[in-house]
Symmetry: C3
Subunit: 341 residues, 3 copies
């Protein structure tokens, strides 16, 4: 439990109300009780403020007057909420040292503060820096390096020659450094192109559960500092993703795609290979990116959802669009001839 005054002090925020208000947890405006801290970061939920039973609410200066309970005042309430959430996080943190069932190579370089869970495998030449946490069943391949404070969740696989910066989080079942999908069409069928490069992640990179990042063919696949990637994303070989870019779930990047800094790709986006997306591009959900994007801005493809009955009627016309345009052009030309008359 933290008092309102303690929280204000720790996070450099102003407050209104009783400094001793005890706050045992975080909750939504609608669900919060008198011992909960709530937040208001989206004007959509403004009406919930009036009736909240929270002990206190994180909000912006402009809303203090409207708030019926104590306030923690923040320039950016969502960022303040994010920081405070860490204080209330009770997720288990394991102790330093290796579980007896782990197989750690004596040729690995493991900092004494690292925590190595059951059934973890660490191969020769691997480096685990200060405070690294490997949960149960994680595999770390030959010569892979994990920077200080990096955490890897259960059963994730980090192949050989993969380097992660500091404070990265790799979620369960993620795979870093599987072979890229490179094959040449030989006389008898597909012939494998060995994938000789590795994977390089900067600091504070987040890789979601079940996400796969393939190793490079000759150079490396590179993900810059601060990139956050959601679950079940596929990053093909030789991709490069710029600083602080965010990629939502189920997105797929084909090989050799370059994505700039500060981009946001919504869920289910597909990007073809060998294209380049510049900085500060937003791509809306399920868009098919088939060419390079050279100007910052928001991009989309797809068709709107309707009832299946209406959709069928309209979709069949999609396949006639070119002929519709020609028929329209014929009408226009006829119109002009009538005018000329």
């Amino acid at each position: 439990m933290y008092s309102l005054a303690e929280l204000a002090d720790r996070f450099g925020l102003e407050f209104t109300g009783d400094a001793n208000t005890g706050l045992t947890g975080l909750a939504t405006l609608a669900d919060a009780g008198p011992a909960d801290l709530a937040f208001l970061a989206n004007s959509k939920y403004l009406s919930q403020l009036d009736s909240t039973r929270a002990g206190a609410v994180i909000l912006s200066q402009a809303l203090v007057e409207r708030c019926p309970v104590a306030c923690l005042i923040a320039d950016d309430p969502y960022v303040a909420f994010a920081r405070i959430s860490a204080l209330y996080d009770k997720s288990p943190r394991p102790a330093a040292g290796a579980h007896p069932s782990a197989s750690v190579s004596p040729q690995a370089d493991v900092h004494p503060s690292a925590s190595i869970g059951p059934n973890v495998v660490v191969e020769p030449g691997a480096v685990l820096a200060e405070g690294v946490i490997l949960a149960a069943g994680v595999y770390v391949g030959h010569n892979s390096h994990l920077g200080a404070g990096t955490r890897v969740m259960p059963n994730a696989v980090i192949h050989h020659d993969v380097r992660l910066g500091e404070r990265c989080v790799i979620h369960a079942q993620a795979v870093l450094g599987a072979d890229g999908f490179g094959f040449a069409q030989g006389p008898e069928g597909w012939e494998r192109v060995c994938q000789l490069g590795g994977v390089r992640l900067g600091d504070r990179v987040e890789i979601g559960a079940g996400t796969t990042v393939d190793r490079g063919t000759l150079g490396h696949t590179v993900i810059a500092d601060g990139v956050i990637i959601d679950n079940q994303v596929q990053v093909g070989h030789n991709c490069r993703i710029g600083k602080n870019t965010a990629i939502a779930g189920c997105t797929g990047l084909a090989g050799s795609t370059i994505i700039g800094a500060g981009c946001t790709l919504a869920g289910g986006v597909g990007v073809v290979g060998h294209v380049e997306i510049c900085d500060n591009v937003h791509v809306t959900g399920m868009t098919m990116v088939t060419k390079s994007i050279t100007r910052a801005g928001s991009y989309s493809s797809g068709t709107p959802m309707t009832s299946t009955r209406d959709w069928k009627r309209n979709a069949v016309r999609f396949s006639q669009l070119d002929s519709i345009q020609r028929r329209l052009a014929a009408q226009e030309s006829r119109g002009k001839n009538i005018d000329k008359g």
Copy 2:
């Protein structure tokens, strides 16, 4: 092997033909031999009935006369087939007890009938009820509960504070309770919002191989009784999925999505965050659901597949649709003027 009469008796069905017909296995109408039981549940395969060599066929009363071999008569032949299939299932079932390589916390509460495979990890506070089966390499986090008869397939990961009802099946590589994709945009980059909620599954929930269900931010991510989810589906944090809803492979639900009961989402569907789908909605494959659905029925988006040559001709016109509509309106207006003229 079961005789025709035995099967009829066990499943409360009528039959025609020789009661002693021995049936050693199940097969399709086309492939079945004299010792196989086949079924006819889809009129598409009706023509195969005439020439089947099966020992017996599960079908509806209306088709008995047409059937050249013995019959098992069912109101719903596919349901009867489903139930009978369990009798012929030879998939291995492990014995009770823990494999010596498992790491089971003494602070876990494990029913003696539970089966715990090689390299399984069960953390403190976890509860495994009667008949739970954990296959090799499964991870069960702190304070997670698995109800009676629930089975978890190899290498699946169940994080802390995840509760499953009875008779659930969690397939290989699935992840329940990874952190949701919650980040605030701070002055230096993305700041993590700790995900303090858990995951709650009802009874008889099926989670496919490689499917990921994120934990809630403040409350829980909730999946109701009888929900079936296929492989490689992504369920974002704070989602709620209603009773008996079915979700096919490769579908992605963004965060805080609410889906009603009795819905069916076909494969590859994407649902944006913070929308609500009411009960009894069907969404066709690869549809992009970008807004709430408030009436039961079937919904779709997308365009029909054609040859790439035709597609290119038509797709380019999609980007001119608004101008096509304006040109058409101009023609209509000109037409009216001529009429008046």
Copy 3:
């Protein structure tokens, strides 16, 4: 390190330049230094040839004159590059024998040359042929067979009754033989159809990281010789995929889909159930295949990406397409009446 003459000799190629040129690695035309071998297989990179600093370049006869450095001359430079890449592959290969932490059933048939990594589980009746490699954490179920030279990467799961031919590669976290998504709608909810079939893979099949191939319902799910499948692909129960077909990442095949030989499915494609695609079909990225394809060729669906502002304007018209076509037809009919006068 290999000399130019050695490489030419090993791979049956002609060369120009100094036979003793030492080549220590492979690199792109742009990145290569004097000890690197580069290649030119795509005319897009032709301009890089003029300024390359590579020690030698693999290219076709026609480009020898233009090349400023030594040449390795190949009919198909990309195939030659693929073969030579194996020579420079330094990815770790484990020794024969089983790691002490592996759980290998005495009822499994394991060739002495097989390599079994830490925490691997091999169930009774499994067969591992000569030179099979199972990396850490792999599970091989009852009665599954792995042909000579087949390799399985960390934490992949091979369920019971799955058979793989020779020289297959199964990447990390892949799942072969999970239950197909088969349920009958019973009076109380979904009833499981037990999946009694298995999975059959031919020789030289490649299965990407996180890819799932479900077992068949009655017969088997079948993948023919030489098929290559990328990461995060879902193959439903009872599918059959023909020889040398290639499937790129994030593609989903619903159940009972049949795909011919020599096909290429680009990334993010979805194929509905119970359809058949003939030989030598190419499907472009993110296409929704909703019906059978009976003629070889290239197929597509979807709409082109534009700025979100333009997209919104055009997408709203998609839902009016049928009415636009009717309005156009009315104009045409009016036009004819005017002509008739």
